[in-house]
Symmetry: C5
Subunit: 392 residues, 5 copies
């Protein structure tokens, strides 16, 4: 019934909402509903549309991250994931993985922090600084929700791409060696379709890889992806502003403002910006390396194709030269035969000649002309060898 | 009559002025009038001229942005757009879109801010900081005028380029498959014109894409494009300077200068520079991705052409080798026939020979020589096969 | 007489001195005189020498800018231009332009500033900040002398390069289409010389373009080119130092030093470094775009040449295959004829045969063998078609 | 028995633990044990797995560095190295080098510092600053443990790659010169396998080189690799925090916090970050240069292969043309012979002709037709030469 | 005797020590002696070894700069140069230049500074600032010792490379034009060896150029090369530290430390880091431009080779087609002749035919069949022309 309903409205599409506690529901949402849920401009929704069907992009927005990785098209907020077309064949493993891995990992971290920070600003900066290495010891079990989703998406996509490449690679080498042995139209067609498959796959792997590299190059973009953290900071700064506003009357104006500003920025930029972008960097780095490996595999297949084509080209040229060499040898022999045929033909003329009446000349004559023609053959053949045209 | 008038003066060209409240008028303006209206140096007007007809550039100037995107040539200020040749066939959709989308969106934002900021500098920095995320919730409805125009221009140009590429792509694959099947001069001509069309289109898409990438790479250039904001800041800083100047006598000199400087810079750089360049970045990023997708499409067609040409080259070479192989086989057979013809010719000579008088030798003789020649054929043919020149 | 004198000394070369008020004089100067005039190291003079005759460089030095743009070789200081070989055919337009444009534009700006700044440092930073946008309204009429010269040089060089490219482009397309139609040695020679001309021109355009891009990428280098400003700053800082030195006894040591340092740096870096590099950036950007367009034109011609060569290569190969196909058809026919000739030859032998005495067999016999040979032809021809070697 | 046990569990793999005092032990560790020992996320262990078997990566983590250089797969902490598959043939030299070089070099540096720093923070920053150049005089004998291991790993890998390239290079030139002399299928096969070996080796060298370049480009990543230093800093900052916490009650709050913060950052960033990344930079630079040289060798072999292939291609084409030229000459001669044969054949017809009864015409007739045919040959041959098709 | 002694030890190599006052001595030094003299790690000495014989590197170390420019292998400290293999043929010009240019230029600058700076720190920063532009007026006569050596080395190497390229270039164009005229194995061999020479030379020029570019890109590396300055700074900071240490008891701790730190950094970074890296930048820039020009020359020769090869390829193909066209024409003619020969052969058969007894048919018959065959020739020839296979 869901699939039917989808066809009726036309605009609304099937989404799966999957929140941080592991609960999921299917829902048909139209564009406006999504825009409201994720707080993103309509413009950004286009990258999940058909125009970008073979592209990969990760967009960081104020309160959401728009993920378009190959077949996985999702919008991740600090609270939930919205997955487009969740019943599609290729997306199912992603949903499966989300179901398996998400609920057990996510801890209710966000709330503890906000409470502590309200009144004891100066001390909290110290405290906040310390837990980070500690939590690093705990081995990133507490990655924020949005990155857990991102990791699962990357995992599914990388595995998919890698297995596609492995399939292609397995088929490629036999086809190429076959082509090197025997250049037939059938083999050429195989290689041609192999090449266009490789090109298409390379473009896809490259797109995902470039997107990750682009993120890794820009710390600001990575910081933008910390949706949970940004949400916490927003709440902090609101609380802080309220506190500052009430203090502003009792203290000298400029000093507290500066110090509070600074403490906020210390809390934000030093403690978290530095150490935490690390988390995301580590995550992206690992998948970047995997994609880079996948890409290198494709490139080495391409290189092998190019080498094979060079080989085939020279091989064909060299083969042709050998064909022509044999042909040339036969042409020389044919020429010698033609010359003797001419002589025989001349003496076949009915125009009277003294030889026609001489007995016993036949065999010596035939023998003599044959010898002359064989000499002619060897003379021309020798000339060709001397010119390095034949033999070698 | 407008078109006529244009031809008379020669220097003056037809422009459409389109202001932020949605009113438009056609006007013939010469170079100097434009320079005065937009406050740009004469040098910059050249990029709208014929020299740059197939180029794309976006220039940020003090009070205006010079937009040359493919066929759209316009100068955008904080107040109005000046569109060159608005009656041109390709520019019409742009004007149409401007008419539809502009008036309803633009809000009279500029004035509210200036008033607030006059006396309560310190507080306003706080207030100003907060509205930004709020406005982000409102989904960028209040993009400044200059960016609304830029977005419409990019939309029109991207759509145009994308549909051109789609047209070309649709035609390309059949032509290439036809070439792969049959290399004829006609098909080669088709592919050649296809290639030069692709090259030209790629150059255009690349130009627009590079221009956007260039802007995205340079935050300062992007900040320069905030014409409305710069106009507001100018007014603020004038007001502030006036205020500072009057204070300078009553307070200690160095301190207020520093603080005022800082507060200005806070107001400028922190509150607006950061969050707002974001707006433009988001806008440009979306169109950059679309253009990148368009470019990838062209590149994949080019790749397909290259693969097809490689295929055709090897195919032609391989075909030729097969032709020569058949020719060689025939040459061998011809040689055998020529040898037997020679023998027959020899016995056709009128020189007396004992055989001429022997009855019943004819058929055995013909049979014998034929058998020898057939053996000769198979001997040479076998040699060629043994040398891997034939067969395979 | 000037040209004569030049030959005598050998070392001294002809220079034209052209100062900011528009007065010019020809002078023979040797290396040392130039070094003294422009205060540049001897090393830098080399880039105006023959080694760099086809190169383009712009060097920023302490008090001078060494300009080597194609044929224009000049040294620009804040006071005057020194032009090398001003009587050379290609340099004349540059001198002409300098004469026309320089005197009327240059205003005696430098002096006004220095006076103001002497005693009222704090206020002047404010005042100085404001004039800049104002002067921007005045449309850059007051570009400093060195940039006016640079702009004229770029204008002359860009126009020259652009017209060279346009000439080449106009000739290129007919030549290439002619080659596509008919591959003759003459056409190939044309294309080959066209290619090497293009390559040479591309290298020159690219060199100028890269030099400008290099400058645009490095704000510090651009700041170095503000010779007039640097000269003013030097004077200011000397005055300031004198003032500071006299104050040093009356005030606490560290504080005034810091503040004075800061005010200088504010005056220098904030007010001027930012806004003014803009001037140069705008100037260079405009010419960069023009050169980029010129370069794109050359690249698109090169692309067209490459496409044409690909076309010609496949065309030649395809043509050859067709030639060989016809030859093969003839070879098959010849073979059939040779077989029949053999049969006829056999019956032309003088060895007695019963047929020789049978009347009325001649025509049936000839008809029969002919029919057999025609069948033979069609059999082999059909085999070739079945193998896809012929026909299609 | 170790090898046996490994096969039983399947998950556990053989590792060698090698600590900073030079003691080593073999141990079978499963994934979790490793994760606990090195404090790295499970994700990072994958780069030591089979997926990355032909890749090279160096990952900097909180307390460990994951080294995957070709066949060397190890995890380095400040205390010990964990080497995967230490009994593997290629890894043995690495273990050998570790055994030889490690114990004698390592000094128990870490402990001295921590003691000093506890109470005399301000002075220690001064002291700490000085030892660095002094230790530089001591010629880096005291590189921290992790870099000694890294250097040995790089040394072993670079030597291995360099000798592989040298082997390949030694074999390459004879094979290529042989191909240039004689294009046979055997030689082509040699070159083809040479090319794919080169490509594979280039990819490996490039991977290591890029990894090092990547590290060198990013000072932050390099700083991350200072495991020993990070361990010391952690201990310092803990001590410092404790001290600050106890002071916080006795002094004014903001001031000491700032000053202590600053002194820490001075100690960290100035004294150590700057000078010490230098150590690692120098180490990596040296190996980068070696790998760059290795890569250049491969590239120059590749270039030589490409040049040889170009040579062979033109050579084959030119050879073919010469073959066809000789064939053409023979075709012309054959044609002349065929014409004379035709004439002879015509006069061999049994149709009565007046010549058949004329005595003494035979020799003049034969001589005449032969002369005509020789003239015919020279006429056509001359035409071909005049057309520049033959001779030259 | 020096050369003999060198062979005996094997490890020790011949070095020339050349100090800043122009005195030189030959000495056999082994690795350890060099390491001690130059205070560099053993690792860095490798780049002067055989592994890097065709590479170019400039390494900045604490107290020395290791220079490996083509054949010049030297270690430069603030005091002296150590030149490896100074008697080698190619190194002699370098030693010669050192002898001529060094003594007269070097001024005993180092000592003056140190004295001044001891007690009057605050004032000296002002004084130090001014001399720099003054010394720039003096035209860099006082480049520090290490840069004088570097400049001479670059001069020698650039001149050597440039003249090598000029030699190659002079020989290249005639060889290529000869190849374009006549593709013979000899000419191909010439071009092939020319190409590999070019490639090798390009790699060398590129290596030096890249090394200089690399230095120019990294201000920190350039600052590292100021050996004399670093030596002076070390002495200053030691003096300063001693002063600070004695003050530490009499003043409040944090304040003096900060101010003294700052004044040092002001002295170092502002006054010298900025203006002086300029000196080195100017020096390197000039040689970078020269090498870039040399590289462009090589690249344009390569481009010419590529164009010539393209030309030769198409030329050979086109020539072959013309050969085959003539061959085809002859094949058509031969076919026509063969057909007539067949007819003649048929009537040469001894099988009785009524024509054999008809008088006066001979000439009409021969004329008739000849006419038919000529028609046959023109028919087939016309078909080939109609198919665009012949003629044109």
């Amino acid at each position: 019934t869901v699939a039917k309903a989808k066809k009726k409205t036309g605009v609304a599409r099937l989404w799966m909402r999957f929140n941080r506690s592991g609960q999921s529901e299917l829902a048909e949402l139209d564009k406006n509903a999504i825009i409201k849920l994720a707080a993103i401009p309509a413009r950004d929704l286009r990258i999940l549309g058909p125009l970008f069907s073979h592209s990969s992009n990760i967009l960081a927005r104020e309160k959401a991250m728009v993920v378009n990785l190959e077949f996985i098209k999702a919008i991740v907020t600090a609270e939930e994931v919205l997955i487009l077309d969740p019943l599609c064949q290729e997306v199912l493993p992603f949903v499966e993985q989300l179901r398996q891995q998400l609920p057990q990992k996510t801890q209710p971290r966000p709330h503890g922090h906000v409470d502590e920070q309200e009144n004891e600003l100066l001390v909290s900066t110290g405290r906040q600084w310390l837990p980070v290495p500690e939590s690093a010891d705990g081995l990133q079990a507490e990655l924020p929700f949005e990155f857990q989703v991102l990791e699962i998406a990357l995992e599914v996509v990388c595995t998919y791409l890698d297995s596609s490449v492995a399939d292609l690679e397995r088929g490629a080498y036999p086809v190429l060696d076959e082509l090197a042995r025997n250049v037939s139209t059938k083999n050429l067609e195989h290689v041609r379709s192999l090449k266009s498959n490789l090109t298409r796959l390379l473009a896809r792997v490259q797109k995902v890889r470039d997107e990750i590299e682009h993120l890794l190059d820009d710390n600001q973009d990575m910081a933008q992806l910390y949706l949970t953290r940004k949400w916490l900071q927003n709440q902090q700064s609101e609380a802080l502003l309220a506190a500052t506003a009430s203090n502003i009357l009792t203290t000298v104006a400029p000093v507290p403002q500066l110090s509070s500003n600074r403490s906020v920025s210390l809390a934000n930029s030093n403690a978290e910006d530095d150490s935490d972008v690390e988390d995301l960097e580590m995550l992206l780095e690992a998948y970047f390396m995997q994609l880079d490996g996948t890409r290198n595999k494709i490139l080495s297949v391409r290189e092998y194709i190019d080498d094979t084509e060079d080989y085939v080209n020279i091989q064909l040229d060299s083969h042709r030269n050998e064909l022509i060499q044999l042909q040339l040898t036969l042409t020389i022999a044919s020429f010698a035969v033609a010359v003797e045929t001419l002589i025989a033909g001349a003496f076949g003329m009915n125009i009277p000649c003294t030889l026609y009446n001489t007995e016993g000349v036949f065999w010596p004559f035939v023998g003599g002309t044959t010898a002359v023609c064989i000499l002619l053959f060897f003379f021309i053949y020798g000339y060709a060898r001397w010119k390095k045209l034949l033999g070698s």
